[in-house]
């Protein structure tokens, strides 16, 4: 069944060399998706929708990365000795493939209250956690290690990246918590992540980024400098993008509880201008640091998230490939 779908989708994808979905009608309506109670089920559905639309197998180049041999030194686990190489070269080499070749992905999910905003049936958080679950599901099926960190103004929960049975269940149960946080602060959680996640990997930040971004650039730069691939998925509500409120009202800040009187007809242009400036600043910072940045509204089909991931992975993979080649060249 799976394979069938894959094949069919492959053929569909051929007709669309842009790598995008074959058509919006083929995508799963997020509202319909969100009605599914089980997060794991949702993720699976979304992933299958994704697999239908991609051109090439995601297995290729993901899990089978070249690993290097390292000369055995006393103290190394003898289980990892490559006996065949020993047989050929009479030298002890340790094969280091498990850790290095599998992707270690940490999903960093914003659970602040602003994520709870909804103008449609599902909130930004609902959307974001489904996206996170879909990613996790996808990666798990690829035998990649996936972890999760949720944050408000600091890391609230952290599940280290693993690939083992039950990881996905734990992850989805963590995701099923409702958002409780107040403020959004990106700087401190990213700093904590950088401190916790020692091994290089991929960090997917899912947030609405509705916070001051003065320190954002330096924190992303910090993560990048530790060798992580960073993907920022910005989740927004369509109302936040368009600001199409009708009558004047008291607007209540969900995070601070502050109220102000706003007449949207008067305030809209100013709102859009400032919102745009904020978004542009984020995009600029990300592009300067080589951070993959993608904005989506909660009306967007979810499986497209995976495209962003794959695209980001592809780019950074190519980058990394060049970098590792250099590295090897340097060593040899």
């Amino acid at each position: 069944m799976m394979r069938l779908a894959k094949r069919r989708n492959q053929s569909d994808a051929t007709a669309h060399p842009s790598g995008r979905l074959a058509g919006q009608e083929a995508a799963i309506d997020p509202q319909a998706l969100m009605r599914i109670k089980s997060l794991q089920m949702r993720a699976r559905l979304a992933m299958e929708g994704f697999i239908k639309g991609i051109h090439r197998s995601p297995y290729h180049g993901f899990s089978v990365e070249f690993s290097e041999y390292r000369q055995y030194t006393p103290g190394d686990d003898p289980r990892y000795l490559d006996w065949r190489l020993f047989a050929r070269s009479d030298r002890y080499y340790v094969k280091r493939f498990e850790d290095e070749t599998n992707l270690r992905c940490t999903i960093v999910l914003d659970t602040s209250r602003s994520m709870g905003y909804r103008s449609e049936e599902h909130s930004k958080y609902e959307y974001a956690r489904t996206a996170a679950a879909t990613l996790a599901y996808f990666l798990t099926t690829q035998r990649d290690a996936v972890g999760l960190a949720t944050f408000e103004d600091r890391i609230t929960e952290y599940l280290p990246p693993r690939h083992r049975p039950g990881q996905l269940r734990r992850l989805t149960s963590m995701l099923s918590h409702e958002p409780t946080g107040r403020a959004t602060d990106l700087a401190a959680p990213l700093e904590e992540i950088a401190a916790v996640v020692k091994k290089r990997g991929m960090i997917v930040v899912i947030s609405d980024l509705l916070a001051p971004i003065e320190t954002l650039k330096s924190r992303f730069g910090y993560l990048r400098s530790r060798g992580h691939d960073v993907l920022v998925l910005r989740v927004l509500d369509p109302e936040e993008v368009n600001f199409e409120f009708g009558s004047p009202a008291m607007f209540l800040d969900q995070e601070s509880g502050k109220q102000i009187y706003v007449d949207p007809s008067a305030a809209r242009s100013e709102y859009l201008r400032r919102f745009q400036a904020h978004a542009e600043l984020i995009a600029k910072s990300c592009s300067e640091l080589g951070v993959e940045y993608s904005t989506m509204t909660t009306a967007r089909p979810l499986e497209l998230v995976l495209f962003d991931l794959v695209r980001a992975r592809g780019r950074s993979g190519a980058l990394r490939g060049r970098r590792s080649a250099l590295h090897r060249g340097g060593r040899s």
């Binding site: 009202a249 607007f251 209540l252 969900q254 601070s256 502050k258 109220q259 102000i260 009187y261 008067a266």
Partner: protein
């Protein structure tokens, strides 16, 4: 429709509030939660562009509620013709107290005062008890309660007005204290005519210039009754007053350049414009005598002047102050008597030029003064003595034996107040002396003196020696007596021993006879007997003798208008006769023979009293306090506890107050505000219901929109 408190209608202006609130588009109903406000800034509320009022009915209800509330607070009532005649007003007891003191002689104060009194009478209601009293130093009835009760209101008012018109200011001082206390007594003593009702309100209307110099002492110990109100109707003079008063003679003699002078004080009021005055002497015919002296007294100050009497033998009547706007207190009257010609009769036979005889020294002891000239007349003891009145001949010195008929004349002289000095120059004189003094002198003989003798015991309290009682004068040790006549002491019971010699023998003895006295010297003053004539004590001693029979009957500066003058000092000791007193205005008052005092001193000036053929004069001046005409602060009266009815304007607006009371009464009866408040509550209920309904429909429509 009228309103009791129409200003509350302004409260209806608050309807502007709901109108504006309805114009403001305050559509935000509830809150719109939003993820962040970081891109939003508050929008100020604004009026709808089209000035369209939303919810007309709600607005009308709210405006109606506010208007009704303002209407209710304005206490509306329907004007009806209610029989609230002014005659039905509360009956009061009113006492109009009119000040007629001398200070009201200033300018047009008296006519103002009369007008105010008439106004006060007009303000009384027909059913009031009304009395009118006038006061200066004392209170006099003009129209008593008893009299006014018998009169009809219209007639009462006419009579009161005519009597007030007849009043005229007197010359007396003002005594507010006594007047107010008496007025309260009069108003309180009368029992209320309507016993069943509560006490009638009592009101004293004081028409006065309320001058500073008025006496308030009586109020000090008086407790003002709580139900008596004092209403002040004050008059005020346009120009300030300056006053002249005589000061009591200081201890130093009031003599300047040998001429007597008068010490006077000129006071000028604070707000006076005149500062230069002239002091002039006037004689009996009111013509100016001599040249006036300039008196410069700045406003608010007082100066003391010593004004010399002019040269010449003119009889002065008064000193007057010229340059003041108000002449009522500008004269000080003096009793300027012509120089008194006194004679001292010496009965003896020694020649006038014999330095060893008493007469030689007697003639030289009396010096003429400004007031009197003393002439010593020598009379032979053998001739019959013709005595005059003690006023013309205060002293008779007997230094020789006199016949019996002369003794009788001398005794008569003493009874009318004369003084007879009997000098025992020789023991032979003892018989006459004994007859004169009616004392049994016993065996009089020349005393045996060892070299000399001094006076040992002197009654310094006696008028004869009282001038010499001071420590620096009372040394009599330098006066030695070589000879004296010793008299027996047993017969001295009726006499007074004025001085004794150091051995206890009498030296000077006094025996009162009638109004006069006989004084017996047991030694002479001539050098043959003693050193007395050549001592410094001789002159004062003789002057004292002279004045023993001429006591100062009147002290001119002490008498003020209204004071009673005691007649005892001018009454002859003989059979009482009628006394006639001529007043300054030319009238004559006849006093009965048994009168002890004269109290008709109604005006300042010179009064001439005639007792038999004797004439005495005295002056009465204006009370200096009456010159202090500055207005008295009302607070001063309040400090004494007087309950002053505040604000004469309030009293003047009494009809207005009455109208207000009538309105209040009507409003109180109708109580329309209750119905209006009920209507307001109804409107508010409707408003609540409508607002709730509107909110409900709006919410449901919103919900429909959302879904």
């Amino acid at each position: 429709m009228s309103f009791l408190t129409p200003l509350y209608l302004l409260g209806a202006l608050t309807i502007a509030g709901p109108v504006i609130f309805h114009l403001i588009r305050r559509t935000p109903r509830g809150e719109v939660p939003f993820s962040t406000l970081m891109f939003l800034s508050p929008t100020p509320p604004r009026l709808t562009r089209r000035s369209r009022i939303s919810d007309w009915l709600l607005l009308l209800l709210r405006v109606a509620a506010l208007c009704l509330l303002a209407f209710a607070f304005a206490r509306p009532f329907l004007r009806e013709t209610v029989a609230l005649d002014s005659a039905d007003g509360e009956a009061r007891r009113v006492l109009v107290l009119i000040d007629v003191s001398a200070s009201l002689r200033r300018g047009d104060l008296w006519s103002q005062s009369q007008n105010l009194a008439e106004a006060a009478l007009r303000e009384t209601r027909p059913n009031d008890d009304v009395a009118v009293y006038a006061f200066d130093r004392s209170v006099r009835p003009v129209l008593t309660y008893a009299e006014s009760a018998t009169l009809e209101p219209a007639r009462r008012s006419a009579i009161a007005n005519s009597r007030v018109a007849e009043l005229a200011p007197t010359w007396a001082a003002t005594d507010f204290g006594t007047a107010l206390v008496e007025a309260v007594g009069i108003i309180e003593d009368l029992p209320d005519s309507t016993a069943e009702t509560t006490r009638m309100p009592r009101r004293i209307v004081l028409v006065s210039d309320l001058q500073e110099g008025a006496a308030l002492k009586s109020l000090g110990s008086f407790e003002w009754p709580s139900d008596v109100e004092l209403e002040l109707k004050t008059v005020e003079a346009a120009r300030a007053n300056a006053g002249l008063r005589r000061l009591a003679d200081a201890s130093e003699p009031a003599v300047e350049d040998g001429r007597p002078a008068l010490r006077v004080q000129v006071t000028n009021e604070v707000d006076a414009t005149a500062e230069r005055f002239t002091l002039e002497w006037k004689d009996a015919s009111d013509t100016t005598v001599g040249k006036g002296i300039d008196a410069y007294v700045p406003a608010g100050q007082s100066r003391v002047f010593r004004v010399k009497k002019p040269e010449g033998d003119v009889v002065l009547r008064s000193l007057e102050l010229r340059g003041d706007a108000h002449p009522f207190d500008n004269a000080v009257f003096i009793a300027d008597q012509p120089k008194a010609e006194l004679s001292v009769l010496y009965v003896g036979d020694d020649p006038a030029d014999d330095p060893n005889g008493p007469l030689y020294y007697l003639e030289r002891v009396f010096q003429d003064t400004a007031e009197r000239a003393v002439r010593v007349v020598r009379h032979s003891p053998q001739d019959a003595i013709q005595v005059g009145s003690p006023q013309a001949m205060p002293l008779i010195v007997v230094a020789a034996t006199v016949p019996v008929q002369s003794i009788e004349a001398l005794r008569e002289f003493m009874i009318t107040g004369g003084t007879v000095l009997c000098v025992l120059t020789a023991p032979e004189l003892a018989a006459s002396a004994a007859q004169l003094t009616e004392l049994s002198l016993g065996n009089v003989e020349e005393a045996a003196v060892d070299r000399d003798v001094m006076l040992g015991e002197i009654a310094f309290r006696h008028p004869l020696f009282s001038q010499l009682a001071a420590a620096q004068y009372n040394d009599f040790t330098k006066i030695r007596f070589w000879k004296y006549r010793r008299i027996d002491r047993p017969g001295m019971d009726d006499a007074r021993m004025i001085a004794r010699f150091e051995n206890g023998d009498p030296a000077i003895v006094e025996r009162l006879v009638g109004k006069g006295r006989a004084i017996l010297f047991t030694s002479g003053w001539s050098p043959a007997d003693s050193q007395l004539a050549r001592s410094s004590k001789f002159v004062p001693l003789m002057m004292s003798l002279l004045s023993l029979s001429d006591p100062q009957a009147f002290e001119a500066s002490d008498l003020h208008v209204g004071d009673a003058v005691s007649l005892s000092s001018i009454m002859p000791s003989s059979a009482p006769t009628e006394i006639f007193v001529g007043t300054p205005s030319g009238g004559q008052v006849r006093l009965p023979a048994d009168a002890t005092s004269f109290d008709a001193t109604a005006e300042p000036g010179l009064y001439a009293a005639r007792i038999g053929d004797e004439r005495r004069s005295f002056v009465v001046n204006l009370d200096p306090a009456e010159s202090r005409t500055l207005p008295l602060p009302v607070e001063t009266l309040e400090q004494y506890g007087v309950k002053v009815a505040r604000g004469p304007a309030v009293a003047r607006n009494e009809t207005e107050t009455k109208r207000q009371l009538l309105n209040a009464e009507l409003e109180g009866r109708q109580k329309l505000w209750r119905w209006i408040v009920l209507a307001t509550i109804g409107v508010l209920l409707m408003e609540t219901w409508l607002a709730g309904r509107l909110a409900r429909t709006r919410r449901s429509s919103e919900e429909v929109l959302l879904t």
